[in-house]
Structures are given as C-alpha cells and as structure tokens.
C-alpha cells in the first residue's frame, strides 16, 4: 500500500568524459518520420553490486518496450568486463551491431547507493551522455527508470516516460458480479498495490499532479449511489469529495491540482461541475438536459474538453475552464467519447464508437487531423504518457457463455505503432498514466 518515499537524490550530475558530441544519425531517432529502424543498443549489467544486473534488466525492458530501441541480447556481447569509466572497445561493439552502449557501476555510499552510467555512441566512438545518482538502495528500480529516461531523451530528443506510475481498475470474479478495485503499479507493471478493498465497485482513478493523491468514483455500502472520493495514496486516508444527493462521477484534476472537474447527476441528468479542492466550493460549468461527462482540462488549464449528447449523439466539445464558449470539435461518422488532452497540448485522444466497433484516435484541439491508432471489439479510455508521445488504453474481448471477456491494458505510440499489452496481475481496465514522479 505504501509507496516509496520521495526519491532523495544528490544527483543528476553530468559525468564529463571528453566532449559530448552533437547528435549523430546512428544514435538518434526522428519519431516524426513515417518509418524508421529501432536503434540497436547494448546494455551491459551494471558492475559493483548484485542489483546492477537487475537495473540493467529494467533498462533493457523499458527501452525495448518503447519500440524505438532494439536491445541486443547480452549473450552475444564480445567484450566482457567492460570498465564503467574507461572507453569501451568500440570495434567489438560495432561488430555486434550496436549503435549505442550503456555501461554502469553501483557503489555503496554511507547507506545509500551511488550509480554512475554512461551511454557511448559506438558509431563515432564518443560518450553521448553520462549521469551519476545517489539514493536509498530501495529506489533501485526508480534509478533504472530514470537512467532509461535519460537514454530515451538523448536518442529521441523527447522527454522519457519510464519513471511513472499507472493507476487502473483491477477486475476479477464472475461476469455478472465483477470485483472492481483501484490499483497502482509502476509503468512497467512492477510494484503493484491495491488502493481500494474491492467491497464496492471503484472506477475511473486519476492522479493528482504530485502523485500524492488520486480521485476516483466508488459505490457506497449496500448499493448506495456512486460518488467521487479523494484519497491520499501513502496514508490511504480518503475523503468524500462528491457529497451531493445524486451520483457524482468522472472526476479529473486540473493540471495545477487545485481543482477537480466532475459530473453530478440530478433527476437523471448529468452536468459538469468544478470543485476547488481546498475550499470545496462548487461551481456549475454546464446546464443542459443532455449528458455532459468525461471532462478533461487542457494542458494549460484554460479549457475543458468533454463529451455530450446535446446534439443527439455523443460528441466532443471544448469550453473555457470556467464554463461557457462551448463548441463542438468532433464531426466524423460515429460517436466520440472520453476525450483526453495531451500533456503537451497538441492533441486530444478519444474513444470512437462506429458501426465497425470501437477505436482509439487522436485529433488536434480544433478537431482537425483525426487519426485512428487502434481498434477492436472494445477499446476504450486513452490516457497519455507525460511526454505526449505514447498512450495507454484498455481492450475488452467479447463475453461468452456467462464468462466475462478478458480485459487488458495496452500501450501504443502516437503514430499507432508498437502496440503491446502492459502486464497486470489481474484483468485490468481504465488506466490513468501519472506525470513523471517528482525527483
């Protein structure tokens, strides 16, 4: 239940070994190009401590799963015992086809571990980047993710997303009486833990920007209507945020964490409201006889995108964050739902329901440039990685003979490439990707 404490890092110190060369074609990747070869990279087990091999494993897994790297299997490495500080034998690494080589060293330092790593550009025979970190030994997985993020950034020019978590709905039990509880795991599926106990259905978890809190919707005891809760992730302390006569649902934090936007139902009708988290003042944002739900703030907090059936079928609308100025942005064939604004502001991801089934797509905030990334019998609920280049969503298989179809979380990049299933201990739906964990 308890998450690791905030990382205490006396680090991020650049390791200078000669000059850092400007980007070279072979160890860089331009993700905007329609096609490219993944960068071949070798990652040697870090020396100095048993955890070094595990750290290298986490880094290999992160980079391979991004689809942008091809990790060369360690069994094929020619040079053994690579010194973590001296230049490697570049010809032997060129021979195994590596464009990049990652080496590292772990040392004890007064109860902490000190980790140095270097990324060598094998093609030009120069150091590409290098950093040193000091932290508590229990943070080794986070350090590995932070190193993978540094490599990703050096090679792609984009911020990484590996040092992040995912909140989701863990599903188990029979199809007509599923247990649905909130869980949080690391982005790669490690450190899974449950946030709600599963006695009542809990859905739609969303992180605060600091990751200290989540908001979600849960049914009350004895089948009383669902309401929105705010829960501290470390302490488990939870407060009722949606304390209204009717159902409250579909909560989401503003980018600065000071507000939560949600739907509240009265007499069967759902409208959008914004609540100030500290003062608990409530402000009504929409007032229509239509279903207004699935609200999400723009990355700068100035606008809100949501879905509404005010025009007949479910479509996407944008309004100013205080309400007003509502305009429809989706005009394609079918119904549009669950809009999510990219953290970098350039796209809105959505679920689309058409006669052919369900799809996950992106469009620009003005509704132009619609592009589908994935499709299936049921795909739903996109969520963005903090760099705005990668998304997760969930995929459901048809049910049959009273059995619920499998539900799984998937990851795909913004071009629709590299879709892969994200491992979870149980069936899983409704992923919410966190921002980068504060260092």
């Amino acid at each position: 239940m308890k998450l690791p404490r905030r990382l205490t890092m006396m680090g991020g110190v650049a390791l200078a070994a000669g000059t850092t060369m400007p980007a070279r074609a072979q160890l860089t990747i331009d993700m905007t190009r329609p096609s490219f070869e993944p960068v071949p990279i070798a990652i040697v087990d870090f020396k100095g401590d048993a955890v070094g091999a595990q750290m290298a494993g986490v880094i290999r897994n992160d980079l391979q799963n991004s689809g942008l790297f091809r990790v060369i299997p360690p069994g094929s490495y020619i040079q053994q015992n690579v010194d973590a500080t001296a230049p490697p034998q570049f010809p032997s690494w060129r021979q195994v086809g590596a464009a990049g080589l990652v080496v590292g060293q772990v040392a004890s330092s007064g109860g902490n571990i000190k980790v140095d790593f270097r990324l060598w550009d094998v093609v030009v025979g120069q150091q590409a980047t290098g950093l040193s970190f000091t932290s508590q030994p229990s943070n080794w997985r986070r350090l590995a993710h932070i190193i993978a993020d540094a490599i990703y950034k050096r090679v792609t020019g984009e911020e990484g997303y590996f040092d992040t978590r995912v909140a989701y709905v863990s599903e188990s039990g029979p199809g007509n009486n599923r247990t649905k509880r909130i869980a949080i795991m690391d982005q790669d599926g490690a450190n899974n833990r449950y946030i709600t106990d599963g006695r009542t259905i809990a859905l739609t978890p969303r992180f605060s920007p600091t990751l200290q809190e989540i908001v979600y919707m849960a049914y009350g005891e004895n089948n009383t209507p669902p309401r929105v809760y705010l829960q501290n992730v470390d302490s488990g302390r939870r407060e009722l945020l949606g304390n209204f006569p009717g159902m409250s649902f579909a909560p989401r934090f503003s980018p600065d964490g000071t507000k939560v936007v949600m739907s509240i139902s009265a007499d069967g009708n759902s409208d959008l409201y914004e609540m100030d988290v500290r003062g608990r003042q409530l402000r009504r944002l929409t007032n229509t006889p239509a279903i207004d739900t699935s609200p999400c703030y723009s990355n700068d907090g100035s606008q809100i995108v949501f879905n509404s059936d005010r025009g007949g079928a479910q479509q996407l609308y944008v309004m100013s964050a205080g309400g007003g100025g509502e305009r429809r942005i989706s005009f394609g064939e079918g119904r549009y739902a669950t809009p999510v604004w990219s953290p970098r502001g350039d796209f809105i991801a959505f679920t689309k329901i058409s006669s052919g089934g369900f799809g996950i797509g992106v469009m620009r905030p003005d509704g132009s440039g619609e592009r589908m990334l994935s499709s299936g019998f049921l795909v739903e609920g996109p969520t963005w990685a903090p760099n705005g280049r990668v998304l997760m969503f969930f995929r459901g298989q048809p049910s049959g003979a009273g059995r619920a179809g499998a539900v799984t979380i998937h990851q795909v990049d913004i071009t629709g490439r590299f879709e892969r299933q994200v491992p979870t201990p149980t069936d899983a739906s409704d992923p919410a990707w966190s921002p980068l964990i504060p260092q």
Binding site: N176, M217, S263, G268, I291, T293, N307, L378, S399, S429
Partner: protein
Amino acid sequence: MRMIKALTAIAAMVLIAACSSNSDQQQAAAATTTVTPGSVADFRQNVGDRVFFDTDMSTVNDQGRQTLNRQAEWLKKYSNYQVTIEGHCDERGTREYNLALGERRANAARQYLIGQGIPAARLKTISYGKERPDPVGSDEAAWARNRRAVSALQ
C-alpha cells in the same frame, strides 16, 4: 439508411424477447401456485421487475409502460415496499457515459411510476452503467436484455 434498418431489427428483437419472457412468466405463474401474493417473488414473476430500452435511448416504450403499469398497481396494493430502480446499459458504450445513461433510464422509469401515483419518496434510483450485465454476453440478444431498468424491492 442501413443504420435505421439495423435499429428496427433490434427493436423487433426486444419486443419478441419481452413477449416470450412474459408468456413464460404467465405459464410459470399458472403452473406454480406456491408464490405468496405480495412477495418479492410474486413481483418478479407475475408483475415483471424490469423494462427494456432501445440502443442509447432512455424513453420507456409501449412494452415498458405495460410493465410499469403493472408495477404501479402492485406497489399501490403492497405499500410497505420501497423501490430502488437500477439503471443499466449494454457494453457498447463508454464507462462514464453509460453511468449517466443508466441514471437517465432509472429516472425515466421512476418518473413514469410517479405519474402512475407512486409517491416519489418510495422510489430511489441508482445507475450501474455497464458494470453489472445480466445476462453476461456479447451478442445483440444479450445487449437488448442489458439495456434495462430493474425495480428492486426493499
């Protein structure tokens, strides 16, 4: 054009399903005399505890009105019961939207019962969206049965 055709087909299926289940219920009621009048079993078997809706709709149809009329009659006779109307959806919508749609359906049934003279104070609503399918299944027949409002007695 093709979409409209498909909709009619679904509507027709609902009607058939509802009809056949009603006659099943009547036959069952005729065959078994063990159901105590005024019991929950009596309500479920002889009155019908649920009404069905078209895709993405929350309007009570003719079949639904007949069921709700019977419910109202029965609830007036047995005035000790409170009712929670549970709104549900099929799985062909998104989770949050379906929570709102289920609430709309439950409210539509509630308003109809109030119109038939049941005091509002006896009628609560709750939406389960697509979270509690009955039956579990991924075909048109299962979806038609899942677009429902169920009157649960307390």
